[in-house]
Symmetry: C2
């Protein structure tokens, strides 16, 4: 199977990072074990990574991951086993689980993801059915999928404080819907466990909170293995109360862009990286890569034209953008046949269960690879992510994939701190 190549000569710091990760492996795993004694991992998650050669960092963490259909089928037993561990304590004994997906009925690629997730959970030994929030689903509706699988969407039935289907009372509800527009009525005041908790939907989740907690996780971890935390952590800043249409908040945005660019430029100078700094300007809440701009100079965010403002002002489900994250751009230097390749790592509970590359031929190394309408070719990881081999070079595929799994689990840990804070907003999350 093909593995993308790093197409940059600037691999010195990364090789050192990968070498440190490889050498500290038992300490790293022991550190994670101790963290998971204190913090509950999310039910699942996916992490978008960027590998710049001189830096390996998460740029996004999804708590409602799609794309399970893109994982290498060889590793499905790993996902099944991880799901068994997860449901052991959530649903002991014979149990029903209800998946609530996004309200897409025509995005068959997304529905293949739901079917893949359903099948994995079934093979973990649960009775799994899929309930739709769509009012148009009034009876069980079979949808034939391009991969030959079938997904049946069924109407939700609420009985008092329990959610289920007409003849199905689940022990838990698994959300594969990021609740961008808020918590729908059927999901409010439910007695069953809902995971991830509805409070972690994009209606209340903020990337800036995630990356604030990631800062803490990354600096603890960097201390553990003795590296500069910047090697695994992009700089960032946030501007709140922006109104793109009214051109309100442009000064904050320009100032934050200037700061993040300046920090990045200073670090590039320190490490001798000959690269032009850029930042990604993103909605602080939201997904699907809507409301994202790549910016190299503060002037670019001042006096946006109508098209640019429209693009930035609205994300999924028509939610308007008022808070904006300005994140150091980490270029992607992994390519496959000249196409840019961005790794995405999937986790169930605390376990890495696979990953794939988004391979895209038409975009550059400093652009957003998860844009609406973007047609990436998924390339499943050939092995993942628990079999590093210290006798191989630090960038041999099993070692590179191990490093990907480690960095992704750091983002997962930050997400678990984030969920703690979202569920108990009055309390400080425990220190890592």
């Amino acid at each position: 199977m093909a593995v993308p190549h790093l197409t940059t000569a600037l691999t010195g710091p990364l090789l050192e990072l990968e070498q440190r990760i490889l050498g500290a492996m038992p300490d790293i795993e022991g550190w994670f074990r101790a963290q998971w004694q204190e913090h509950t991992p999310p039910f699942y998650g996916s992490v978008d990574l960027r590998n710049a050669g001189y830096k390996l960092a998460p740029i996004d963490m999804n708590l409602f991951p799609a794309g399970f259909n893109n994982l290498n089928p060889v590793f499905r037993p790993l996902a099944i086993q991880a799901a068994q561990v997860t449901v052991d304590h959530l649903c002991p004994g014979i149990a029903n689980l209800l998946i609530i997906p996004e309200n897409h009925t025509r995005n068959l690629y997304y529905l293949q993801n739901v079917a893949a997730l359903r099948d994995t959970l079934r093979l973990a030994g649960l009775k799994v059915r899929v309930g739709s929030l769509l009012s148009e689903i009034t009876a069980p509706t079979d949808i034939d999928l391009p991969d030959g699988n079938t997904l049946t969407l069924e109407p939700l039935v609420r009985r008092g404080r329990r959610l289920g289907l007409a003849d199905f009372d689940p022990c838990m509800v698994l959300l594969n819907n990021d609740l961008s527009a808020g918590v729908p009525a059927p999901l409010q005041d439910i007695d069953q466990t809902i995971l991830p908790p509805p409070q972690a939907g994009w209606h209340s989740r903020r990337k800036s909170q995630h990356f604030a907690l990631y800062d803490r996780v990354a600096s603890d971890f960097a201390r553990l293995i003795g590296v500069d935390p910047w090697l695994i952590n992009p700089y960032w800043g946030v501007c709140r109360g922006i109104d793109f249409q009214a051109r309100a908040g442009e000064e904050c945005l320009a100032e934050t862009v200037r700061e993040v660019l300046e920090q990045t430029r200073a670090k590039y100078r320190e490490l001798g990286i000959e690269q032009t700094p850029f930042v990604m300007v993103k909605a602080d809440a939201g997904t699907y890569g809507m409301g994202v701009m790549s910016v190299k100079d503060p002037s670019e965010v001042v006096g946006l034209n109508r098209k640019q403002r429209n693009k930035m002002a609205v994300v999924k489900e028509g939610m308007s953008v008022s808070d904006v994250l300005v994140q150091e751009g980490v270029p992607t230097f992994e390519t496959l046949n000249d196409a840019v390749a961005e790794p995405v790592v999937y986790m169930l509970d605390r376990f890495v269960v696979g990953g794939f590359y988004r391979v895209h031929t038409e975009r550059g190394e400093d652009e957003n690879l998860n844009a609406p309408g973007m047609h990436f070719a998924p390339l499943a990881f050939e092995n993942c992510c628990t079999e590093p081999d210290a006798t191989d070079p630090p960038d041999a595929p099993p070692n590179r994939f191990y490093a990907y799994g480690v960095i992704s689990r750091l983002a997962l840990l930050a997400a678990s701190l984030e969920i703690e804070a979202l569920i108990l907003p009055a309390e400080e999350p425990e220190p890592v």
Copy 2:
């Protein structure tokens, strides 16, 4: 990859069993989940199965399994993940683990197993070293293995009530030594957790106790899925106080053989199975297939000649045999290129992590395939054992392997009841 074929027309009852297992999958997994809430699985185990076409049953359960080197490397991530789950609660945080293997220094195939086990536990994130009980190991000794791996045996060092190596203090000791000759002094009165517990060594373990507990597990499980428990459970009896050399106890042996043959014959008549019943006569304590006879008539165990008596009287490490298990023979009807193939399933904690066939060209379907000096060719399972597909026939390989995993986990559950009884001999094990 090749999969052995069932070479018997008598597959009606088995197909029904496999169909029931397939159909009851969520109930089966829920039942296991509930069992593992009540009972702690052994650290690891392997189960020898026989597939007669009309019957699928465990004939042996090993708590100190060798053969990890024979598993399909594609599934090593599954073993790594299972090991992570296991050590999570045994050794939280950064941790050392000490393996104590059998006292073989020349059996390189066995030592490849130890190295495979060590590597899996290392990849699970532990610092793992191997300590030898052999007095001749007075300094770290590297042994080069046929597969290119290296195993370092190190001298045990005891400090008070802690066991370790000169510069290595483990959080737990993993036994890969079945302690046939008793618990060696260095392992007595140790504060660290030793798993499996030394009380579960063959010096005190009895197959008859295992199969008595398996009777209970198998009948509960058979009720769950609505089948005759005999389909998954061989008849058996036990004779104690036998002295082969003094010809004492032959009457008990002949009578027990007669009873087990008669029970088997009656069941064959009931189900229309045209097969000649036979029994396996085995030492009640012991391994390596020493002290095993295949018998078709009670007269065969009366008046044994010197050679036969010598064969039966002594098992591993020169231990004399006084207790004898008489077990219904379950013929092996799986063959690969005319060679008899016996499945062996491996588990870590409560998870099936792989398996292989012992493929042997020189022995018949009713003989013991695990005899000393026997050279079997291991054939790793091509997939294992968590991906049944109800749209395939019940004997399609993924479904057959799922059934193997289920039956093996029943034996694993019996072993966990057995360990409870061995550790707390005064208390009755809890009902399943």
